[in-house]
Amino acid sequence: MSERVILLVEDNPSDEELTLRALKKSNILNRVVVVRDGAEALAYLFARGVHASRAADEIPQVILLDLKLPKIDGLEVLREIRADDRTKLLPVVVLTSSIQEQDVVTSYGLGANSYVRKPVDFTQFVEAVRQLGLYWLVINQPLPT
């Protein structure tokens, strides 16, 4: 069986570390692949560039996608994920700082499965990550591979 990884698209090192910490505290033990900009996210998903040699059967069970990213922003990444047959059905959770209406509307418009705002209060952040992990990795029945 292929490995069920979590793809974390996050450019802020603090947020990355806090997210990993929150996952760990929530006992989510899946391997987390971290990519730090939109271009790298796409490179990983389509196994090209620096990620050309990744295991072909490695499919993220959920993508945690920040919106404000260097090079290619999160909305564009989402657009390309949904435009490609190989990735169009992957669960994408937008995990970002803003709940600017335009972001929420555009994200859902592009086919995001969920939109979660990162709380400043770390206790709440952990709780949010815990629930996300529980839902997407345990409760939600993934597409058969």
Partner: protein
């Protein structure tokens, strides 16, 4: 010869009747001619034709009478223009001044010498006698009275008829001559009046043109030289009209401009059609101006253009205002875009470091618990509190900026339902609170539902917060009347406030309670005020310390901001 005496007596009586008739006809020329013809026909008999001499010596038939209208109709041919050969008798009479009496006319002998149509007409009425006498006034012949005899039963015309006709002619001539003079007088009076009227109209036009606030100018069609200029034109160009009249565009304007003006002039004159130039630059003594010009061809009676009329409105100020307005609008749009991207980056980037501060403080507390004493942990808690408060401030500020910027989408909104939603979410966050909430049902308003929801969240949030230390907390929403307007009141029995500070309530970052007493950012009511003002409403508050507060707001009651 008693018969002749009788005839003379009768003739005299008829003559005097005729003279009275002439004077009765007065100075109406045509009426008089008819009266003459009719009376002569009555006195002498049968048909009378009044022949008149025109100023060019042509003879024309001026009037005809016969008591039989058929005869008049048959002789209508005589009125088709100047008399030809048929007028020979009359012409001869007039030139010699001698009456001509032809007791018996041989029509057949006459035939070669007169026009066939005339001969035909005369034959038709069976003329058998004629008499003509000149009408002379002050020695000058003015015409001829002629009589045609066609009735068989009447005796032939004789010398008595001739004398009688001469008497009539003398009187008729004078009357006709007088009437003619009067007619001429009348005509010249009419011409004079028409000239005066034209002058008056011209003067009127002059005043109108002179005082029209737009530049009005006239150019002659040949040389396109100015023939007329009004005051607005002088002022616009900064040149007195004496210097303009007789000159053309090339004498005043840069060559390119002058060429453009004249090209438009030619277009107008050649097409004989109005040409409108919506915007044209013009160099004046007072700098460059912009004109909106109409050019109109003025044609003579044959349709040939003789003048070009131009009317120009100075649109420089309007154009400048338009440009400035456009620039201001662009600037505002740019500023609004900048503000938008600013808030966007605030929303994203300002929160991330706060998450770091809070998260790593918590990590310290968790991972290094054994190395921290109570004081150290308390400090870290304070760090976290500060970070979270900062996050709250950012959110509130973004909200405030959003309600200022975003478009207002008015529709009918159920205020009661929105209020219930607000209260429900407050209750969800603090399920243990026991607050009695009364919301008047079915309050319907015209508002932007999202903005109104934000306002209600803040107002109910405040009421909820400030009743947190009150036993038996109550919050109520109801419609009331304030200053003649429908208003809504949100009343609570919480901490209240001192009316002395009421004016500070709605300012940004203004707080009447300390953070430790009741937490808050001081932005909520400023946001409420902005939302209500954008709805052209008013928001006010009343309160008493320790006894609660009431917030009133109206919607759509104020003039457009």
């Amino acid at each position: 010869m008693p018969g002749e005496v009788e005839r003379l007596r009768r003739g005299l009586r008829l003559l005097s009747d005729a003279i009275v008739a002439f004077s009765e006809a007065g100075t109406d020329y045509h009426l008089l001619l008819d009266a003459v013809a009719k009376n002569v026909a009555n006195v002498i008999g049968d048909t009378c034709v009044v022949v008149l001499r025109e100023p060019n010596d042509d003879l024309i038939a001026g009037a005809i009478y016969d008591r039989d209208p058929k005869v008049v109709a048959d002789l209508a041919i005589l009125f088709s223009g100047a008399l030809g050969a048929e007028g020979q008798l009359a012409r001869h009479t007039m030139l010699t001044g001698e009456p001509r009496l032809i007791p018996f006319i041989d029509l057949a002998a006459l035939k070669p010498s007169i026009a066939p149509v005339i001969h035909e007409a005369l034959a038709k009425i069976r003329v058998h006698g004629a008499l003509a006498v000149a009408m002379r006034v002050r020695g000058q012949p003015i015409g001829v009275l002629s009589v045609l005899r066609h009735r068989e039963q009447l005796r032939p015309l004789d010398m008595i008829d001739c004398e009688l006709l001469q008497d009539l002619a003398n009187h008729a001539g004078l009357a006709i001559s007088n009437a003619r003079l009067t007619d001429q007088l009348r005509e010249s009076e009419a011409i004079r009046a028409a000239k005066e009227e034209a002058l008056r109209a011209n003067r009127f036009l002059d005043v109108v043109i002179e005082h029209i606030p737009d530049m009005v100018f006239v150019k002659d069609a040949d040389r396109l030289a100015f023939t007329r200029f009004n005051r607005a034109g002088e002022q616009l160009l900064g040149v007195p009209r004496e210097d303009l009249i007789g000159k053309n565009d090339f004498d005043f304007f840069p060559a390119a401009e002058a060429e453009f003006f004249q090209a438009k002039d030619r277009e107008t004159l050649n097409n004989k059609q109005l040409v409108e130039i919506a915007e044209e630059p013009i160099m004046t003594a007072n700098g460059q101006r912009w004109l909106h010009t109409k050019k109109v061809p003025i044609l003579d009676e044959n349709g040939t253009p003789v003048y070009l009329l131009g009317i120009s409105r100075d649109i420089t100020d309007r154009k400048r205002a338009d440009t400035e307005l456009r620039r201001a609008k662009d600037q505002a749009e740019r500023a609004s875009k900048e503000l938008e991207s600013f808030s966007y980056s605030v929303a994203h980037d300002l929160r991330a470091p706060l998450r770091g501060i809070d998260g790593f403080s918590q990590a310290l507390i968790e991972d290094y618990a054994d190395k921290l004493d109570a004081e150290g942990r308390r400090y870290l808690d304070r760090v976290r509190e500060s970070a979270q408060r900062m996050a709250l401030l950012i959110d509130d500020l973004l909200n405030l900026s959003k309600v200022t910027r975003s478009e207002l989408n008015l529709r009918t909104v159920d205020l009661s339902a929105l209020a219930a939603t607000s209260v429900a979410s407050l209750q969800r966050v603090e399920p243990i609170r026991n607050v009695t909430v009364e919301i008047e049902p079915n309050l319907s308003v015209e508002a932007d539902p999202r903005m109104l929801a934000i306002a209600l969240d803040n107002l109910f949030g405040n009421a909820w917060k400030f009743t947190s230390k009150t036993e038996g907390a109550r919050i109520a929403l109801s419609a009331v009347e304030r200053n003649g307007h429908r208003a809504f009141a949100i009343r609570d029995n919480g901490a209240g406030f001192d009316m002395q500070y009421a004016n500070k309530l709605f300012g940004v970052f203004q707080r009447l309670h300390s953070e430790s007493e009741f937490p808050g950012t001081g932005i909520g009511l400023a946001t409420v005020a902005r939302i209500i003002h954008r709805h052209r409403g008013q928001v006010t508050a009343e309160g008493t310390p320790g006894q609660g507060a009431t917030f009133y707001f109206t919607l759509g009651t104020e003039a457009e901001a």
